[in-house]
Amino acid sequence: MFDDLTSKLDRVFRNLRGVGKISESNIRDAMADVRRALLEADVNLQVSRDFLARVEEKALGQEVMKSLQPAQLFVKIVHDELVALLGEKEARMGTAKKPPTVIMVVGLQGSGKTTFCAKLARHFKAKGRRPLLIAADLQRPAAQDQLQVLGESIGVNVFRGESKNPVEVCEAGLRHARKISLDPVILDTAGRLHVDDELMNELDRVRKGTEPAEILFVADGMTGQDAVNSAKAFFERLSFSGVVLTKMDGDTRGGAALSIRAVTDVPIKFMSVGEKLDQLEPFHPDRVAGRILGRGDIVTLVERAQATLDETKAAELEAKLRKADFNLQDFLDQLKQLKKMGSLTDLLGMIPGMGARMKNVQVDERALKHTEALILSMTPFERERPQVLNASRRKRIAAGAGLSVQHVNRMIQQYDQMVTMMKQLRKAGPGQVKRVFGR
């Protein structure tokens, strides 16, 4: 995510670092590069112009040129401005004074409203709430079926009205929710163009009929310059209270986030980061700004680790690592834990400084699968004592995993290297560890 913008800015700043001392023309050069980066990242032309003006003013006005570390100061200025533009704090969801809280979800066709509605319902259900989904998209063929299937898969009620009028469907659904105490109520409306007056009026009527505590505008994270037009039009009509960015697991540079924020001043509340229904994340402006600047997103990484890793297993592992008593069964456990955290590509992208470097590296997720298959083809005895793996055993394991003996050999070799490294680390002590992993 934001990888491309990150690598661009990385280069700009590396150039600045090389100069050592900075002149006014250096800053102008850097600004030109930042401008290109922003435009290639799909930040709206006008928005990037305003942004650059603010940055340049600060960069020239401040002591950047006199500073001993001008690059760092420049980075800080760009970073702070990005954070300011993205919104400074993590935004919360509104609730109605009297339940149920109604959340109305709107947006253009294909932005990902229906999938987001299901993700949001799942998010509330995981917090112990009893949400209701209302299928108010009567436009797209089978949209109601889609919501129904998604609802069933997460065990959330889906209301489908008899009426052909979405306003009536929403009102009927709301009455249904009141009757059986479901809360919150999520309205999945049909996608529409912001220039379609008739359909925009219909949304206004849904709003008046259901009085939502929260109206979320769903925007495709890959949107280009037009993001400002659609966001502005929807905002003028509905004054939505939050923005959701979808498809952020793609390689989009995500400039739409900056653009929409700049023209509406409405906080971005969620980011969709995958096709699975649990792949929804709150939007953290500071982290995303950090990511844009190539600082990685270590906080998300740690949070994800905490949410998925088993604590007792982690403690066990730590003890084993300390004794350098790490067999193939432990290796397998590790792989499984890692897999739960998401794809390797995602994880690597969150490590500071990796974003730019990993840009063109395709991580082969299959290699992990192979390793897993190989270990699963071993007996428990073999997993604990890899040294017993002779030629005949290796042949059997390869056959069991559907791979070749070379695969087995390579895996054992990697395992041996790991054990050797662990022993070295243990000898080195904590101070040395930093030296191995640090710069």
Binding site: E40, D42, G110, Q146, M222, T223, D226, E275
Partner: protein, 308 residues
């Protein structure tokens, strides 16, 4: 209402959004100078044309300005350049097959299933027999959606089970289409982000098994591109071409305010033609691509009323 009028109506919205700005830029008699070039650059960038293609077009204009002098007709020159880029990409027509197999691919939410429905109707209107393959087995209810489109235009749909193997559906459909001497088989695939290696491999497999069954299939691979997409469209075109051999684009949702300028960038940098445009919710809201009309929607109508 005729097709052309409907498209024109759809494009009017697009045009209105920028026509004021354009009229000011293209005032007759305005000199081709630095400030005009700057304004034209802004227009192109704001239309998602992107830096590379914008730089290219502006350089061409500068060149013309040097040759013809400041009185050069910037409006006409720019239009010519845009149309030339699009025509260049159109150069080779796709090969034909019987059945002619069209594979429709793209990222999530661009309008693939709708475009499949519209393309089928378009062929059917020409008296051709058409069959759909519902190979999007992933998205909930995608099969139902295609079946509804099929029903509306009397096109048969070959479908498998939800979460089934999409390559198997494609092969079954190809078999069925061949048995019945169907003219066109259109294969709908699941939306996928182009940076997901495993999903792209699955798409590659669909393409591969079709080829195995019939030499030359799929004869066309159409990437569905949402007109609101920004520069990420270039990545989409690159990756889908790499795995599925894209032969052309369907540009959808041109009835909004987005101008789909990234399609011009794709035509320019990858020589991929835009084959069709989609612009509404009815099955007939679909046309073969017209380079001149696209240039008009991008740049507005010709400033001087030179017609007639």
């Amino acid at each position: 209402m005729g097709l052309f009028n409907k498209l024109k109506q759809a494009l009017t919205k697009t045009r209105e959004a920028i026509s004021d700005k354009l009229a000011a830029v293209f005032k007759p008699g305005r000199k081709l100078d630095k400030s005009l070039l700057q304004e034209l650059e802004d227009i192109l960038l704001s239309a998602d044309v992107g830096l590379e293609t914008t730089d290219h077009l502006i350089a061409k204009l500068q060149e013309a300005g040097r040759k013809v002098g400041p009185d050069a007709d910037a409006d006409a020159l720019l239009r010519e350049q845009v149309v030339a880029l699009l025509r260049e990409a159109e150069a080779t027509p796709p090969p034909q097959g019987a059945p002619h197999v069209v594979l429709v691919v793209g990222v999530n939410g661009t309008g693939k299933t709708t475009s499949v429905g519209k393309l089928g109707k378009y062929y059917a209107n020409q008296g051709k027999s058409v069959m759909f393959a519902a190979a999007d087995t992933f998205r909930a209810a995608a099969i139902e959606q295609l079946k509804i489109w099929g029903e509306r235009s009397g096109i048969q749909v070959v479908a498998g089970l939800p979460n089934g193997d999409s390559a198997a559906v494609a092969v079954d459909a190809l078999q069925a289409a061949a048995n019945r001497n169907t003219d066109f088989l259109i294969v709908d695939t699941a939306g996928r982000l182009h940076n997901k290696a495993n999903l792209m491999q699955e798409l590659e497999k669909v393409s591969r098994v079709l080829k195995k069954r019939q030499e030359g299939a799929p004869h066309e691979v159409l990437l569905v591109l949402d007109a609101t997409t920004g520069q990420n469209g270039l990545n989409q075109a690159r990756e889908f071409t790499r795995t599925a051999g894209v032969t052309g684009l369907i540009l959808t949702k041109i009835d909004g305010t987005a101008k789909g300028g990234v399609a011009l960038a794709i035509a320019h940098t990858m020589k991929l033609p835009i084959r069709y445009v989609g612009y509404g919710e009815s099955l007939d809201d679909f046309d073969p691509f017209d380079a001149e009309k696209f240039a008009e929607s991008l740049l507005g109508e010709r400033a001087e009323a030179s017609a007639n």
